[in-house]
Subunit: 222 residues, 2 copies
């Protein structure tokens, strides 16, 4: 159905939520118009399309908005269902993938953010919890090449955006991820090397580092 | 596949999240063993089955746990897919139902809780936001009999557990819901009158009121 479709993505380049959606669109080979958003000065289009949360990413498909990254990925999978299924077909594997993706969205994202935006006690407890969360995911991956039972799928694309932030986490969280989570590190490398949807989407780590340093300056942390 | 299945639900009677799952199980006609949990003194079974969040509800299907109410409902719909579909078949309607259910879980639940567990400024701002949220949902319902496009479905079962809490919200939030949200009030009545899955699941409003009064006493609010 691509021929007739108008697909627009409201997004912000450094957003881990936005990257999930961009990878899903790339996996499906869906052409779309990317509209970078200024989160400090939100556009009328963003406010109109997501009046409840006023957040990116928003996918606008033939004029109708879909919000919240996990819901957008599912929508993409439902509408463009002729190729590259994004969810495991087994209901239990699907439920597990959704559980961990939810854990990443609800917990891990915030903990990762705390590594470069907080100091003192909050920083230290976030550091421990963040590493603990990554180790849980390392256990979930086990010796599989991807989280998806059959192939790269929902949980892979939900976690891989962290890869572009690894340098930030390592620097401000004083972590050595290759040492702490060797399987996850190998998985991330595998995703970047084997999946064009990933390598073409993830921003350069040095750009993300510069972005986080700018944030720290604004917060008075350096 | 019911014949061979062992289905256990770890739950707490007053939980709005748990009620969602119980309604879904009732809609599908799935027999299960209900195991009430003491949330002040969590059982080893609960800790073993949901080590990450340590929360109810947990559905244990043939020994394997599924956690998080929205994910459990989807799992139920995927496994017992021969009757009573719980999601709209249209991808856009499904995405909207998921968006609002997520809004209820992430925002409305906490705001509703604040109505009977807080005082002062937090109470007043929660009251306004809670009512604003209900009015958004009233707008989403419009003049349809149920939120589901075709019938009672995911968004209906995600919101209807609030019905047993309405008395609490009205009393401590100083709200007149029939006046403020007439369409939602009529919808709730319709669900209770027409759906046995709902009327057999929702606890009595007076029991919920007594439960909330007990909570307030423990919090030193009365």
């Amino acid at each position: 159905m691509e021929g007739e479709d108008e697909v627009i993505l409201l997004d912000f380049w450094a957003s881990r939520y936005g990257m999930k959606v961009r990878i899903a669109l790339a996996e499906k080979g869906i052409p779309y118009e990317y509209k970078e958003q200024d989160l400090m000065n939100k556009s009328q289009l963003l406010l109109d399309m997501n009046p409840v949360h006023k957040k990116i990413p928003v996918l606008i498909h033939n004029g109708r908005p879909v919000c919240e990254s996990g819901i957008i990925v599912r929508y993409i999978d439902d509408v463009w269902n002729d190729k590259a299924p994004l969810f495991p077909s087994d209901p239990y594997a699907k439920a597990r993938a959704m559980f961990w993706a939810d854990f990443i969205d609800k917990k891990l994202n915030q903990l990762g953010k705390n590594l470069y935006t907080t100091n003192g006690e909050e920083h230290e407890s976030s550091r421990k919890e963040f590493l603990g969360g990554l180790k849980l995911l390392e256990g979930e991956l086990g010796d599989k090449p991807y989280f998806g039972v059959e192939s790269f799928s929902f949980l892979d694309l939900s976690l891989i955006p962290f890869n572009s932030w690894f340098l930030v986490y390592e620097m401000y969280g004083k972590l050595n991820l290759e040492h702490e989570c060797p399987k996850l590190t190998a998985w991330a490398k595998r995703c970047v090397e084997n999946k064009e949807s990933v390598s073409n989407t993830l921003p350069d780590k040095s750009k993300i580092l510069a972005f986080s340093q700018d944030r720290r300056k604004k917060l008075g942390l350096e």
